[in-house]
């Protein structure tokens, strides 16, 4: 039965999502409870699946028992089991936070709908991680883009409608580019299964080099729009800053990363490393990644709204991931994937603590945060841990991913990029450190504030502390994550 766990987990997410609208009394409370319960059970089952793959090796799951070139296939290996475990665990933490926070953000009648949309979002993300079929990936990608817009527009404000519509338009253009690329690849390979495609493309790619080049150009552009790579990030600040806090955390730490996984799959599972290098794609990615690392941070410096600043910071961090990817070496790919995990944790911590500040004090402006560390010590300690990680202070997971990335850059013989990494870290310090300093060291504007633990609802405190702990844990013991990522990278490069 263990081999069915990924499919069963995924299908149960969908089954609960369609159940929620039919609930009668106490819709909101029941939806929250059922979602949390299902996610907790899913985490347990995915852990079993992860351990099983570690012990008994990877395998493919054929739907309907058809052979790989006929039906749809899931590849269940170290990469997909670990990443789906990571995604669902992080989603569970965010959802525990959301149980209290969401009451303040959206109308009571749409809370149940919110959880329906989140469950479908998770369904599609898990599907995109597992699938080994290019068209199946497109279908999940469309579900993902619809739901990720819907969890923004559910907060019934006009800014949200505009942000969601712009996100939707760009997302759709991205999806169409990807579909166009799939059509071009299907035209020459005649397969949709990634393994079969790789085999036939490696045989015929010299016959149709333009096809492969244009297809990879279209698909990378499409994924770059969705993953907010630097010049195509224009939708991201509006979308991520206007969304309800749990949605911001989900979008910034998970949804964007799923498209990074899609790029990994496209480049290494479908096309193969040799073809990519001979087409000259890595150089292009390096340029955009480096530009994103610098400009994302520069834009973030000028922001006054805390959530908007975090959104721009995401643009810079996506640059780090793509920089690791573009090196095309084992160390580079591992550094990129490690940063996916560590940035997911850090950004969740930052958004959740920013959300707590908004929930508790209703302050969004960075200049109003003087002395907030005395009013809300737990929240601001978690914020400080994650922000120091973003800057790259030793002991945090952010430091470890920058260390891996620096070694990878030096190993690939491109010391110039090391300068870019250091400069970007310096820029991160320019906008994160003032917040920490003013929060803990400046006098609060209102007098008679005494130091005491803030009275946040228990679920919010619980998820803040958990995520802060996870940030430190992966900082001190990076091998916990790196162990799986090394296996995943070996799968991609084999």
């Amino acid at each position: 039965m263990i081999k069915h766990i990924p499919v069963l987990v995924q299908v149960s997410l969908l089954a609960l999502a369609v159940l929620l609208p039919l609930l009668k009394k106490n819709k909101a409370a029941k939806s929250k409870l059922l979602t949390i319960l299902l996610l907790a059970v899913s985490v347990a089952f995915l852990l079993i699946s992860l351990i099983d793959v570690q012990q008994n090796g990877a395998f493919v799951y054929n739907f309907g028992n058809y052979e790989s070139f006929i039906g749809i296939q899931y590849s269940i290996n170290a990469f997909s089991t670990f990443m789906s475990f990571f995604v669902i665990t992080l989603a569970l933490i965010i959802m525990i936070f959301s149980t209290k926070d969401i009451d303040h953000e959206i109308a009571q009648s749409s809370i149940s709908q919110y959880y329906t949309l989140v469950l479908i979002l998770l369904f599609s993300m898990v599907g995109m991680i597992y699938t080994n079929d290019l068209f199946n990936m497109y279908v999940f990608m469309e579900i993902l883009s619809l739901t990720s817009c819907a969890i923004i527009s559910i907060k019934s404000k006009k800014e949200n409608y505009l942000a969601a519509l712009r996100y939707l338009v760009l997302n759709t253009i991205g999806s169409l580019s990807v579909l166009f690329g799939i059509a071009l690849l299907y035209m020459v390979s005649g397969h949709l299964n990634m393994t079969m495609m790789n085999q036939s493309i490696s045989m015929i790619w010299q016959l149709y080099p333009t096809n492969i080049l244009i297809a990879s150009g279209f698909m990378l552009t499409g994924f770059a729009i969705k993953a907010a790579v630097f010049p195509l990030h224009i939708w991201l600040p509006d979308a991520h800053s206007n969304a309800p806090t749990p949605s911001s955390a989900l979008l910034s730490s998970l949804v964007v990363k799923i498209y990074v996984f899609a790029v990994y799959k496209l480049l290494f599972d479908v096309l193969g490393r040799n073809i990519i290098i001979s087409l000259g794609i890595p150089t292009v990615i390096t340029v955009f990644a480096a530009a994103g690392m610098l400009f994302g941070s520069i834009f973030a410096i000028g922001q006054k709204d805390i959530k908007r600043m975090l959104a721009y910071s995401s643009v810079a961090q996506i640059g780090y991931i793509f920089l690791g990817l573009s090196l095309m070496t084992e160390a580079g790919l591992a550094a990129g994937l490690f940063h996916v995990v560590s940035h997911g944790l850090m950004k969740t911590a930052l958004f959740l603590s920013a959300g707590s500040i908004i929930y508790y004090r209703n302050k969004r402006d960075i200049r109003d945060l003087d002395g907030i560390g005395i009013e809300m010590p737990v929240t601001m300690v978690v914020f400080a841990i994650a922000a120091l990680g973003m800057i790259g202070i030793p002991g945090t997971n952010g430091f470890m991913s920058k260390l891996y990335l620096s070694f990878a850059v030096l190993g690939a013989g491109q010391p110039l990029l090391l300068g870019v990494i250091l400069l970007s870290s310096y820029l991160n310090a320019v906008y994160y450190l003032p917040i920490i300093i003013s929060a803990f060291l400046k006098e609060p504007k209102s007098k008679n504030v005494t130091m005491q633990v803030e009275v946040l609802p228990f679920p919010m405190l619980f998820s803040l502390i958990t995520i802060g702990f996870l940030c430190l844990l992966t900082g001190f013991y990076p091998t916990l994550v790196m162990n799986f990522i090394t296996q995943a990278v070996n799968l991609f490069l084999s």
């Binding site: 069915h4 499919v7 299908v11 369609v18």
Partner: protein, 143 residues
């Protein structure tokens, strides 16, 4: 819109549309058609009804609570059929190996799970079309 000619003609046309839609869905596995096209025709019949009579009348015939159940029911049917495959053939969504009755190609009752899923899809597509149309037209009414 309140027009006698439109009302009378749509009263005549709508039954034919519904029968045609059901035919397209049921014969999806032996002739051109299937759940999506048939469902779209069924949906179009109801849209015509809404347009020629009024949105309030149509919404009484097909209220949101019914469409909600059809939506969820369609997906549950699909998942349930898939789960049968896990127990009988050790794989999600198995048809022949899952023990469904395949029969002779060309018969109405043949092809295992294909007609069942097609009917499910057809109902779901029809109800989606109608709900989308009703929701948007309802919003216009509030103006």
């Amino acid at each position: 819109m309140d027009d006698l000619i439109v009302k009378v003609i749509s009263r005549i046309v709508i039954p034919f549309m519904i029968v045609y839609g059901i035919y397209i869905i049921l014969f999806g596995h032996i002739s051109p058609g299937g759940g999506f096209s048939g469902g779209a025709i069924l949906g179009a019949a109801m849209v015509l009804y809404t347009l020629s009579f009024s949105a309030d009348v149509a919404m009484k015939k097909f209220p949101h609570s019914v469409s909600m159940k059809l939506e969820s029911g369609g997906i549950w049917l699909y998942i349930f059929i898939g789960l049968i495959g896990i127990f009988t053939a050790d794989s999600f969504l198995s048809n022949q190996q899952g023990g469904f009755y395949i029969g002779n190609a060309g018969d109405l009752i043949s092809a295992g799970m294909i007609p069942i899923l097609t009917v499910g899809i057809g109902i779901k597509v029809a109800s989606t079309m109608i709900t989308l149309f009703h929701t948007i037209i309802e919003e216009e009414g509030h103006e």
